[in-house]
């Protein structure tokens, strides 16, 4: 009886810890995507930013010895990729989805190419804060070993919500995303707002990548990303383009991804691969629900439907 209790508790705690650990990169990528989409553009290339960010972050950390410098460099690489995406999209009759897919392949390829020498060496990793040190249970300790980037993400979400609602710049982003006609009439430069939003969104995705290689899983390899960049797009739709909801949705995705390993840790092996597929099934389900023609999609920026 009590053994079963401990099992259930440890699954719950492992899922909670997993939600935080696996969900952190989702927070950054989805907030980045959210900002870009709020300006009326979709950047599917964030998967590429993520992989590139992981490689650049890892390499910088290895070469400089400072993982935080790695995070900064990853953000920088995300900026550059975002800038390239934005510049390509500024041409008339260029489709942002197609550019995004091209950018994703380009950035991943580039990251693999330059990342070859960094697969073997081990770089200094981002430190974590042991919130579970009061406990004797190794499960609790592992689950509550939380990285500082998580807290930065948790703060970033309300800051972005505040930025979008309460600042002049943030409202410019919303206006451009809702109606380019209105933006023109108000004298807001659509190109500049979308460029900056895409660049900033790209930087956030880069940070998400650095988290992957510098904290969890914590090494650089070609199979590092399992499509988090693409899932973030679904996540933003699920979150109704609201940064706070993006945070919750990221944690939900993280929890879904942690389900399989958590069950395995208490000895449930049946359906392991099925549980591991939980985040993908969740993505699919969200896509089906949100593409239902009969339901109106609240919160969607007006320019995205064009």
């Amino acid at each position: 009886m009590s053994g079963q209790d401990i099992g259930l508790w440890s699954v719950l705690i492992a899922v909670l810890g997993g939600a935080i650990r696996v969900g952190t990169p989702f927070i950054f990528v989805s907030l980045g995507e959210c900002l870009t989409e709020k300006s009326g553009r979709i950047n599917l290339g964030l998967e590429g930013n993520l992989v590139m960010g992981a490689m650049v972050g890892y390499a910088t950390s290895y070469l400089s010895g400072s993982p935080w410098l790695g995070v900064l460099a990853a953000a920088g690489s995300g900026c550059c990729l975002g800038l390239l995406h934005a510049l390509l999209c500024q041409h008339k009759r260029v489709n942002d989805i197609a550019v995004g897919i091209a950018m994703m392949l380009f950035a991943s390829g580039l990251a693999f190419f330059y990342g070859k020498p960094f697969i073997q060496p081990s770089a200094p990793r981002l430190p974590s804060i042991g919130f579970g040190n009061w406990s004797d249970s190794p499960v609790v300790r592992a689950a509550l070993d939380i990285n500082a980037l998580f807290f930065i993400g948790v703060i970033l979400a309300p800051v972005m919500a505040w930025f979008l609602m309460r600042t002049r710049w943030g409202n410019s982003v919303r206006v451009v995303g809702e109606s380019s006609d209105a933006a023109l009439a108000m004298g807001i430069s659509i190109h500049r707002v979308r460029l900056l939003s895409t660049v900033a969104g790209g930087a956030f995705a880069g940070i998400g990548g650095a988290y992957l290689s510098l904290y969890y899983p914590g090494s650089w390899s070609e199979g590092l990303s399992s499509g988090q960049g693409l899932m973030a797009v679904a996540l933003v739709i699920f979150a109704r383009w609201n940064p706070i909801y993006c945070l919750y949705a990221s944690l939900l995705f993280g929890a879904a991804a942690a389900l399989g390993p958590a069950l395995q840790s208490v000895g449930i092996h049946s359906g392991y691969y099925l549980f591991n597929a939980a985040p993908y099934i969740l993505t699919l389900a969200i896509m089906i629900i949100s593409s239902d023609r009969k339901g109106t999609l609240g919160g969607m920026p007006g320019e995205l439907s064009k």
Partner: protein, 503 residues
């Protein structure tokens, strides 16, 4: 006298590529007056106004504002100079509230916006405004008339002294139009506003404007005090010497046999909500039945249901007493044709030639094929040449892509295609939207001629004048229901306006 001129445009010229959009156009706005700018589509009204608003830099000429020459190179600069414009296609953001829309349009926003303070400030200023509304409502929930009022209020709150209105009443019911223009007129009289109004409605010019300027084909034709002109003179100035075809006389029909009958028709919109609710309607042989109404009251869904583009939830459509389902066989059998609005998008293949578009419905007809399957190009071409001449389509030849034609000529091509064969039932939606006088007269003439030949025509139009001119009797649609029925002879604009507005 000269003191009274608040804005003057002198000898404005503008060239786009090799098209002379404006040439030597002048305009004088008297302070505290309503000035109407009249002209057909393509006469250069919008180009002139966009030069004043700083969207375009004129290639020649001067703009003098309050006795000082100004070079206006952006809408923001125009706003700083006290010029404000309400566009025909509103620039409000549907997903935001009225308050957000108004506050965000202010040029000098602080870096951090204190919404509660902004809204309080806005509310205190609203008391002086001619229109009142709940600031917390989302713009997407407003009717076209309310949006127009918000747009005007927005400009007034931005301290516009000269307000430019681009076809301000084109989406309003007659009652709403009168209300808005009446208020605008009062504002100019109270000494705080000068209005320049682009329009093509003579009634509004005669009733609300003080002066009028007429443009034609990018040139200045004349300007006058409204008291010195009448609609006939204005119409002559607008179209110049061009002859407008006279509509054929209406012939009475002996037999009245129902050709199209709609019974209890229910159709949903894209959101799955009912857009057409239990519609009952009959159209007889040799009769034009109109459906008047403000856009977005179910007209689009009704036409799509009739043309088979949209699923019918319940109810029936009968042609000649038989249940009609839109497929090629029953279309041929009942000679039941639908012409949706925006023909280039909905009734043509833009990249195909005029000749190909003219046989789009019948390219497999024996007259256009050899041995049942091979297209007879020369027959298709001969057919096109005949129809182009008959329907006065202006094109470089049958091989020109249809998308290269002007709006009026595209509508002529589509009408030629549908009316060239025997037509028993015709459903047509906004056939003259955005077309010039000559094209409108031609197309209305063709519709009347088809009616005289016995075609049953269901005409949906947002232009009440068109309904009044063409239909034998008409309904008013509001919220997906036919709420009123009358004939043009007995129609009372006020009553119709009430029903159109859903009262």
């Amino acid at each position: 006298m000269n003191q009274d001129i608040v804005l003057e445009a002198i000898d404005i010229g503008k060239v786009f590529g090799d098209v002379l959009a404006l040439q030597g156009v002048g305009l004088k706005l008297q302070a505290n007056s309503v000035h109407a700018l009249l002209g057909e589509n393509g006469a250069g009204k919008s180009t002139l106004v966009k030069c004043l608003m700083g969207y375009y830099r004129p290639d020649s000429g001067q703009i003098i504002l309050r006795q000082k020459e100004q070079v206006i190179d952006s809408p923001q600069q125009a706003a700083r100079l006290g010029l404000g414009m309400v566009y025909q296609h509103f620039t409000l953001i549907p997903n935001m509230t009225i308050a957000e829309n108004i506050v965000l349009s202010r040029p000098s926003l602080p870096a951090v916006i204190d919404w509660s303070k902004e809204i309080r400030a806005l509310q205190s200023r609203m008391a002086d405004m001619p229109f009142q509304f709940d600031l917390q409502r989302k713009v997407r929930d407003l009717s076209a008339g309310e949006k127009q009022k918000v747009e005007i209020t927005k400009q007034l709150l931005l301290d516009a002294e000269i307000l430019i209105l681009d076809e301000p009443t084109s989406v309003l019911t007659p009652t709403e139009a009168d209300e808005v223009l009446e208020k605008i007129h009062q504002l100019t009289r109270s000494g705080s506003l000068t209005v320049l109004m682009i329009t093509h409605k003579f009634r509004e010019v005669m009733r609300y404007a003080d002066q009028v300027t007429v443009l034609r084909k990018g040139r200045f034709v004349g300007a006058a005090d409204v008291t010195q002109v009448n609609p006939q003179m204005l119409s002559d100035m607008m179209v110049g010497g061009e002859s407008i075809s006279k509509p054929p006389a209406r012939e009475a029909h002996a037999s009245f046999q129902a050709r199209l009958k709609i019974s209890g028709l229910q159709v949903n919109n894209d959101q799955g909500l009912p857009a057409v609710k239990g519609l009952e309607l009959e159209v007889n042989e040799g009769e034009i039945v109109g459906i008047a109404g403000v856009s977005g009251n179910g007209q689009k869904q009704l036409v799509e249901a009739l043309s088979g583009q949209r699923e019918v939830t319940s109810g029936n459509i009968f042609a000649h007493g038989e249940i009609f389902v839109s497929n090629q066989r029953s279309i041929d059998k009942h000679k039941f044709y639908c012409l949706p609005e925006e023909p280039l998008k909905n009734a043509c293949v833009g990249n195909l030639s005029v000749a190909e578009n003219l046989v789009l419905r019948r390219f497999n007809h024996p007259a256009f094929v050899y041995w049942r399957w091979l297209l007879n190009r020369s027959a298709i071409r001969r057919n096109a040449e005949k129809l182009i001449a008959q329907y006065k389509v202006r094109t470089s030849g049958p091989d020109q892509a249809v998308s290269a034609l002007s709006g009026g000529n595209i509508q002529r091509v589509v009408l030629a295609r549908e009316l060239a064969q025997e037509v028993s039932v015709l459903v047509i939606s906004n056939p003259c939207f955005g077309l010039d006088f000559k094209a409108v007269a031609d197309i209305r003439g063709q519709l009347l001629a088809a009616r005289n030949r016995g075609t049953a025509i269901l005409l949906l139009s947002e232009d009440l004048d068109e309904i009044l001119e063409l239909s034998d009797r008409f309904h008013v649609i509001s919220g997906g229901e036919l709420v009123y029925q009358t004939t043009p002879a007995q129609a009372d604009l006020n009553t119709i306006g009430q029903y159109m507005a859903g009262h």
